[in-house]
């Protein structure tokens, strides 16, 4: 729970002041010295990360490295115990999930969560960027343009034929696609994608990699958390390796794969 954040003992933490702050020229996402402590357990430990506009970034790391917690912090699900989390110049630590989403930060969950009781079409319609207050929702009429956008997304995620089906009866892979589709409908500036290809076939994985590359078209930034190194290689982007809540290494896939520290904690096993 976010409210449970507590003051922490400043043990085993390097002093923040002495370190050069990361440059933030074109930063869309800016994390600096972020720590999250649950009952003495450091899920994130002084993590700093910068994602530039239009950048595609892969984040890898062993289980428990803090990848999902990092996404939670950015999207407002978890409040950091300390540290700076900014979207452009906006402090994200003071906003709730909905406000952050409305700023233009979209998220796809590790375990696909779509709305089972609604149809595929309705799921996308909910995600479509539009005024979100109750009154507007009540008065909402589906315009031709909106219909076209939904149709385009349906085609993109290959679910056109299933538009009228309840999300509950989709397969796991289709749910993954639907969730990616919902992410696209939000038209966000930053997409946080947690393990998008889990449960997908090789062909689907390739398709997804291409899609993500296309999305990060210079305007949108995409952060992908993934286990599948082949997929990360296919993305062909900068890779950040997390370990025990802190950044271990950063660079191209070849660079991090040859980093002895990474080899030791992650790849070597």
């Amino acid at each position: 729970m976010s409210e449970s954040s507590q003051a922490v003992l400043p043990m085993e933490r390097p002093p923040v002041l002495g370190r050069p702050r990361p440059p933030r020229s074109d930063a869309v996402l800016y994390l600096d010295g972020v720590s999250v402590v649950f009952d003495g357990f450091r899920a994130l430990n002084n993590l700093s990360l910068i994602v530039e506009q239009g950048e595609l970034r892969a984040v890898i790391g062993p289980n428990g490295a803090g990848k999902t917690t990092m996404m939670d912090v950015i999207t407002g699900k978890t409040r950091p115990t300390e540290g700076v989390v900014q979207f452009r110049d906006i402090d994200l630590t003071r906003l709730d999930e909905a406000a952050i989403a409305n700023l233009g930060i979209g998220r796809k969950f590790q375990k696909p969560t779509v709305f089972d009781a609604l149809t595929v079409f309705e799921n996308l319609e909910l995600a479509l960027k539009a005024p979100r207050n109750p009154w507007a929702c009540l008065r909402w009429m589906l315009s031709g343009e909106a219909r076209d956008r939904i149709a385009a997304t349906l085609a993109e995620i290959g679910l056109t034929a299933r538009a009228g089906d309840r999300a509950a009866i989709l397969s796991h892979g289709q749910r993954q696609w639907l969730e990616i589709g919902m992410l696209l409908m939000q038209d966000p500036e930053v997409l946080l994608v947690d393990e998008p290809v889990a449960g997908m076939t090789d062909q689907e994985t390739e398709h997804t990699a291409a899609l993500l590359r296309r999305i990060a078209d210079g305007r949108r930034s995409v952060v992908v958390v993934e286990h599948d190194l082949e997929f990360v290689r296919a993305l062909g982007c900068k890779v950040t390796v997390l370990c025990e809540g802190a950044m271990l290494s950063e660079g191209s896939i070849d660079h991090v794969q040859n980093d002895p520290r990474v080899v030791e904690v992650y790849l070597g096993r």
């Binding site: 999207t75 699900k77 709730d96 999930e97 909905a98 406000a99 989403a101 409305n102 979209g106 998220r107 969950f109 969560t113 709305f115 089972d116 009781a117 609604l118 309705e122 319609e125 909910l126 995600a127 979100r132 207050n133 109750p134 009154w135 929702c137 009540l138 008065r139 909402w140 309840r166 509950a168 919902m182 939000q186």
Partner: protein, 367 residues
Amino acid sequence: MSATTLAAAPPAGRARVTLRLVLAGAILLLALLPALNRLPADAALHVSDFTIAVTGKWITYAILALSIDLAWGYAGILSLGHGAFFALGGYAIGMHLMRLIGPRGVYGHPVLPDFMVFLGWPELPWYWWGFQHFPFALLMALFVPGLLALVVGWLAFRSRITGVYLSILTQAMTYALMLAFFRNDMGFGGNNGFTDFKELLGMPLNTGNARAVLFYASLAALLGCLWLCARITASKLGRVLVAIRDAESRIRFLGYDVTQHKLFVFVLSAMMAGLAGALYVPQVGIINPGEFSPGNSIEAVVWVAVGGRGTLAGALLGAFSVNALKTWLTTVAPEFWLFVLGGIFVAVTLFLPRGLVGLLDRRGTGR
């Protein structure tokens, strides 16, 4: 899949059409009742005063059930405090009816209701001002429950109090109100509440005419609420509510302010319950703090569960069927009614999670 989605699917295809036809037929039949009451007493189709009175009461219960269904069946807010909103609406109209008694009370005081004279109150307390005007009283019957729902809902929803915690919170709310209304110095008649009403809108109560008027007013209110609920549930708002019900934390990440949506539907639902109470009191001729008892609220929730939550027809079906059973059973075997009601609670949750409508749906779609 989570069990809550069991109720999600409104009946599809043929079942849906059947349901709508049945519903329309039932409402038409209801509309005929007061006319049949006017037939001579020995006519084959004559409907007794008792039937009119009881059915009129059930219609207000159906409105209450609709309001609960909107909050629970669609938005997943299981309020155990809708009885309180109902009672508050009833009290608002009750205050108007008390003011209309005027000097015809036992003590013959021109302004003060009997209980205030009895307690030796010198004048009308400020919160009774304005209740001599019917439109004001009616407005209050909607406004007061709405305001209470707004305050309680705002406190609860922004703290993300959900599920059973919210249920218990709302139950505590109605319990606290019951205790408060039992007090004489609250100025609402204490234990005895309000009764001995004389007239409403210039027509003496307890006449066939008044019964018919109130009956039709209730029916109109039911249709209005039904239309409103249908409009909401068919809109995108309805889909947002269903999404909140099934995955509240997920929809926040789509940028929906859950607190706002829940508050909207909760307040609206409370106002509907208040309206139901306002129509109920003139028909039964009494309102007392017993209406706030937590058991009443939870019983109303069970009507919805029996009928099938998440479908508007289900709420109506449940309200009418359970109350019909209650009226019948409490006359033939009163000591068994609580066993039966308790049994309904158990049976519907264990065996009929989608209620009677779910049963119909299974037959209709051959599942």
